[in-house]
Symmetry: D2
Subunit: 315 residues, 4 copies
């Protein structure tokens, strides 16, 4: 594993993915993926982070056709410097589509694929294993399991994931969006790495030992997140939380819970990175009043960031 | 509207679809759609019913690729005699895929398409309307709205549907799987037809005035269902329920709740209609013990059917 | 254990409760418990059954004050012949109230108490164990655990219950309302008895090896249920299901799902057992149309019962 | 209406309750309510706030007997200076208990009672109205409706609440814990006041026009909350959010989502206000690791508070 820009050393015993790999919103313009905005966005955050996750839920992958998902993955991948970790979301309700997406991701150089439980039928553990096994046999790159009970209606028991990891060749990483943080220790004991998955309780995952983050916020605040992540890896949780509170939290508190994709795009458009704040149906754009509050959240995060700098410099 | 084989007259004021249009399981063999079984199945039930709904949830449509869905719709359509009503499920999480499926359905002669709320993101009413509007503008056939709160996580208020029906050209029919039966009267007042959608409370919908059925059971018991439907249309609810209780209910009680697709296929295979009881992942086949009980349910329904005949003949 | 009227022998290895112990609706008149109706009801079904469960969910216990619950338990107990098994529901959100109810139940001669997870806060396993431990230490009679995920919002893992049973003195019985029937085998392996808890899939529990029933239906159809239970214990599942289908199912299909308390009371009033079909707020009485359909369900069950008798006699 | 310490003027058209009326945790010691801690807590926050809400969910009311709830309300009330608004939670599953609690609250001088949907049975709108009507007829003080879909399983439509308000004498205030903030405008149009109910999205309610707050945070940070509330009433949303972000948010981000009662008590004990961090079953105390993170959140909030003061003073 070669991650020259990563601030941390890889834990010896765990081969799964780690580091800051934010799930990124997909920019759209007139209903189609906006490649220029996507490249601008990558250029903005990649210098600070370990990589990214494209076409997760946040990327509105379920709203896109399989062909369009492949094309967007290619655009992103071809604009990514070597040494960065790219994970491609391959969640689908059809195992054939998931397999096609996973093979394609591997063919273009992705380090891993991210897969949630199929999200129409309420999935059973045996049915999910059957789905994962097909994926596992089709690829040689990391198969990141996405534990997202709210979106998929499927409660994953921590022990079940350990059993699956023992049966599958490529499953060493879990993205945890569930709020049961005790799963982190269980999965660590089984040699799995765990990536923080839900912005509203972001710091709780990190403080509980998550090996990295697959949330949105690091892509909006890459420098601040990189700094607090280094502080965390160095054991300085207190300063890390001061940085997080001052420079990240003011946006997180108002950009959700639930409509983070639409509100993130408001900020990314204001930042000059996205050409529009469009979302695909069935999502809807943030209302003007909602947008105003999110902008305020961003302003306070930025303003606080400056105050924070002078404050901590004085210490 | 021309439905020569329908046992009932069309209600004057309502232009939506009506009658017995069961949602049918899709037969698979070695992981692929089994065309021969599909044709046998159509031949079995079509003489008794008004038509059918292919590639709904029961048809495992979410587990199939869009191309495969189109192919199966073509196979079914080409084996359907004129005068029968065919509805094709076009639910998807991607509006582009839904649109492609809907245009294709219309091109091959379907009378309508069935669309649920997109099922990954928790949908809002404005987001759902945006999705439906795109579909509505793409087709000239009936747009059947699928009210399925359990599978989609989206609670549709009855009044919201009435508002949508006023805004859209092709929405005159709702498939109701929600258990709030008061919606039937609200939608009737708005000129919509309502199709019963959930087998576990099948007769409650019918007794409450549903204009037809998009459930599984009529496809397994087409003769009995046709008879009880005629009785209901003639106002003889009592005899209709006797027929239903004797000839349909013994299977319905044991073939769900929740795994009706897998258990129906056990019965359809035993009946010689399906070559296998396969389901696609993430579903799993019924266990041997589960299969035994479902077979018992079918045997009792059949045995009862014979007893019922002599019983009612004696009256 | 002395159950002279029970059709079955106690399984050697299991000390938990078993047999037909229906959860019974509580009759009300002008907003107060109707003792005369309660006694008539007990007289109606007790000759056929092993006992009953008073003041469960079906008994509207959560809608009653603790003092009123104690009074009703006393009325029922004092009208129950020796040798019958009485279980008293002690579910509450307050452990002090649960304890008072449990001590009272034991003091008046109940064989067991039935306790669900406290139902306001979403309960954790450690919190539930703390609650159960307090109950367990307060009584010497059976502590029946009520696994009811829908009403309590708490998913009980099968293994967790086995762990609790090993830690507690009085927990040997589980009432299973969850639809995960694989729990039955897990709990049997741990020496626990399992009672069927949900009428809509009643026979599936029984066929899967449940040791008895804590549902409503046996109290309405005690003779039929007693007969089918004997058939089941004798291994004749086929005839048992014929009896169930003919004599019980026509009511079950229409008396739920969800409003079984109100609809059962319509039938019990028509049968001359209850003086009224009143329910306490927040429940509401069945509407006239709803009542008509339930009455039809009962009529068909009764009519079928007679046909069934002549039918099986003829064989 | 006489609220001498309130920072705001009462809106002319709305007679409902408003202002900062935090829901307060109930201190326990050795399993019983700790009156000394309760009085210390009131002394701590009351100088800054309009009043408080005792024995809501946060007060663990469902875990207490009705008699104990009355006693705690009396202790709190007798320690409250005149002019402060006290609301007493009367949510229960039994209408008789709710009525007794409401009459008692009125008798001891409460300004209002807070009532959620009964939380065992899934409530229907007619059933809830029946419950509320009984309460409404029993009291002459404000009946605050608690819209809490997660805890009660009941989705309240905004229009339904307006209909109820028109039918009931004392319902002019809603506590909104639902995340559908569009309800605020609907209820304002109907003349109702709306109180913010959920800490994790606290500022979103306030920015959307909520008339006050029934959350936990104002009781922990009364001075900061009083200041930001004044800023909001004066129209300075920007500075209000700066104050909120610096002095409140660092705790809010880590003290939930879901276990705010246990974690708040950790902080209140550290502050010297509560003698213990005990919770009643089925809740469990925060683990040591969980407690450490919450303490860090509080320290950062306090540290920020000091930095914020010098920062804003410098402007």
């Amino acid at each position: 594993m070669n991650q020259p820009t990563s601030p941390m050393a890889a834990p010896a015993a765990r081969v799964g993915l780690h580091g800051l790999l934010p799930v990124i919103p997909t920019p759209f313009l007139a209903g189609r993926a906006d490649e220029d905005s996507l490249r601008r966005f990558l250029d903005y955050f990649l210098p600070w982070l370990d990589g990214y996750t494209v076409l997760g839920s946040t990327g509105e992958a379920p709203s896109l056709s399989t062909a369009e998902r492949m094309r967007i993955a290619e655009v992103a991948m071809s604009h990514t410097p070597p040494g960065k970790t790219v994970v491609v979301g391959v969640s689908h309700t059809s195992v054939d589509d998931s397999l096609a997406l996973a093979r394609h991701a591997q063919s273009i150089g992705a380090r891993g694929v991210l897969c949630a439980a199929p999200y129409y039928f309420i999935t059973s553990a045996p049915g999910m294993l059957r789905y994962l096994r097909a994926l596992d046999e089709a690829i040689d790159i990391e198969l990141v399991l996405y534990d997202n009970p709210v979106a998929t209606g499927f409660q994953l028991a921590a022990d079940t994931v350990c059993e699956w990891a023992a049966l599958l060749s490529n499953l060493h990483t879990v993205k945890l969006t569930d709020h049961d943080l005790a799963k982190i220790d269980t999965w660590h004991d089984a040699g799995l790495t765990v990536l923080a998955g839900d912005d509203p309780i972001a710091f709780r995952y990190l403080a509980a030992g998550a090996d990295g983050a697959m949330m949105i916020a690091p892509s909006i605040f890459p420098e601040a997140f990189s700094r607090l992540w280094q502080l965390l890896r160095a054991g300085d949780v207190e300063t890390a939380y001061e940085v997080f509170s001052a420079r990240v939290l003011p946006l997180i508190h108002v950009f959700g819970i639930g409509d983070e994709i639409a509100t993130s795009k408001v900020v990314l458009k204001d930042m000059g990175l996205f050409a529009s704040a469009e979302v695909l149906p069935p999502l809807v754009e943030a209302s003007p009043a909602r947008s105003e509050l999110v902008r305020l959240g961003y302003r306070v995060a930025i303003g606080k960031a400056q105050a924070e700098k002078s404050h901590t410099a004085e210490r």
